[in-house]
């Protein structure tokens, strides 16, 4: 950790004024695009992500089709203007890996067997990155899938915890992610109390891990209620287009 950056005070106040168990301000909207089956937009702090879902459609090329279920194809992509330095629009190694882990986090929630031999595409476009893009992407993708009418076991909600200045904190921002000691994104199906994604970058003790999971559950509870609010707003007639 860089000595010059004070990420958290002794009183537990973070760089942006949040407490250790506090989420960044979150805003979600469902049904923001008209030419796709489902869509969602999320702002979590300075992170801004747009998600579009297309399908189920017939799988092409046909040899990729599975006889018993649909294929979930996920593309996580960062826009060239999403970072402080221009990012090449070509898919990077990191984006390919994140596309895979996001797909694996969403798949357990979907009844893919309802649409055999088809493909469901999820496009996650990061418009502005300020840490937590994979977890915000998962949160938005699950409400976009729900809007598309794909049968689901539960919504999937994700948030990260990390270790900053020796303390376990919820929902890291860019500075905490860069200079912190650990980062652990977790995705859950909250109603079923099942974890669908857990990654850990850095080191945590067993006690810190348990503390982190408890913090995540608290954060996910708040995000889950915001997801539900956004879906209810969409289906009660209010629709916003960006």
């Amino acid at each position: 950790m860089s000595e010059s950056v004070v990420l958290i005070t002794q009183d537990g106040v973070r760089l942006d004024g949040r407490r250790i168990d506090e989420l960044r301000p979150v805003k979600m909207q469902v049904g923001v695009l008209k030419n796709c089956s489902g869509s969602a937009y999320i702002e979590q702090g300075k992170t801004k992500i747009l998600v579009a879902v297309q399908g189920p459609r017939e799988a092409h090329p046909k040899h990729i089709a599975l006889p018993g279920r649909a294929i979930l194809r996920t593309r996580y992509h960062m826009a060239p203007f999403s970072t402080d330095e221009r990012k090449s629009p070509a898919p990077s190694r990191r984006e390919v890996e994140l596309s895979k882990v996001i797909r694996e986090a969403l798949e357990p929630a979907l009844f893919l067997e309802e649409y055999p031999k088809t493909v469901i595409d999820v496009f996650i476009e990061v418009l502005q990155a300020d840490a937590g893009t994979r977890s915000a992407g998962i949160t938005a993708a699950s409400i976009a899938l729900a809007e598309a009418g794909i049968p689901m076991r539960d919504l999937v909600t994700a948030v990260a915890v990390g270790k900053v200045g020796g303390k376990v904190v919820l929902d890291l921002n860019e500075a905490e992610d860069e200079h912190g000691e650990a980062d652990m994104p977790i995705a859950m199906m909250p109603s079923l109390n099942k974890i669908t994604l857990l990654q850990l970058n850095g080191r945590l003790t067993r006690q810190e891990l348990e503390e982190g999971v408890n913090l995540v559950k608290k954060g996910i509870k708040e995000l889950y209620s915001l997801q539900k609010q956004a879906l209810r707003a969409r289906f009660s007639g209010a629709q916003v287009e960006v």
Partner: protein
């Protein structure tokens, strides 16, 4: 109206209700599998979640669809389903029209009644891919066909098709809504189909 439910919401318990529609059971609890409304039939102990909002754009059994013949073999015709109601399938869904589902009358060979590029209206007989189609019934069958010799649009004259360009005569399993009638007539359904195509 009952309250809107979201995926994962508990809507009942298995001891009390039998789930129908978009409902699944997890550890004895019935949960909604989609955004929708709950309908409870307390006398029959049935609980149903009816989807509200968007429905995935996939043909289901009983749907009437428009398609283009992509291949015709003696025992079977391959049809690309391109649209249904006002929905357009991009890419199209592949469907099969077996010889037994072409007509209520005896059919010697499927490729004598259908050929590549014919536009057909058909009914879906299966719920998942490969979709099985049926053109039994007067309203189902070819609604626009091209001449096998010169490629011009064929015109229907009662039960046969005549090419206005080369004069060739041909047979198809014709729909009563065939678009081009002999002597320049256009069927009402033909106009409607033309409008659908513009929309797409």
């Amino acid at each position: 109206m009952s309250e809107i439910v979201l995926p994962g919401d508990a809507v009942g318990v298995v001891e009390e209700y039998l789930g129908e529609g978009f409902v699944y059971e997890h550890n004895g609890v019935l949960r909604a599998a989609t955004v929708g409304f709950v309908h409870r039939d307390t006398s029959k102990h049935l609980l149903k979640v009816v989807r509200s909002g968007r429905t995935p754009n996939v043909p289901t059994k009983g749907d009437v669809v428009y398609g283009v013949v992509s291949d015709a073999k003696p025992k079977m015709v391959v049809v690309d389903i391109v649209s249904m109601d006002k929905k357009v399938f991009q890419p199209p869904f592949t469907a099969l029209l077996p010889i037994s589902m072409i007509s209520t009358e005896r059919v010697e060979s499927a490729d004598s009644l259908y050929t590549e590029s014919d536009i057909v209206i058909a009914k879906v007989e299966s719920t998942s891919s490969p979709f099985i189609l049926s053109t039994k019934g007067s309203e189902f069958g070819v609604i626009l066909a091209r001449c096998r010799n010169c490629g011009s649009m064929l015109e229907s004259d009662t039960k046969i098709l005549i090419c206005p360009n080369c004069g060739a005569k041909d047979r198809r399993k014709l729909s009563s809504n065939y678009i081009l009638k002999r002597h320049g007539g256009v069927s009402k359904s033909g106009e409607s189909f033309g409008n659908n195509r513009k929309d797409s």
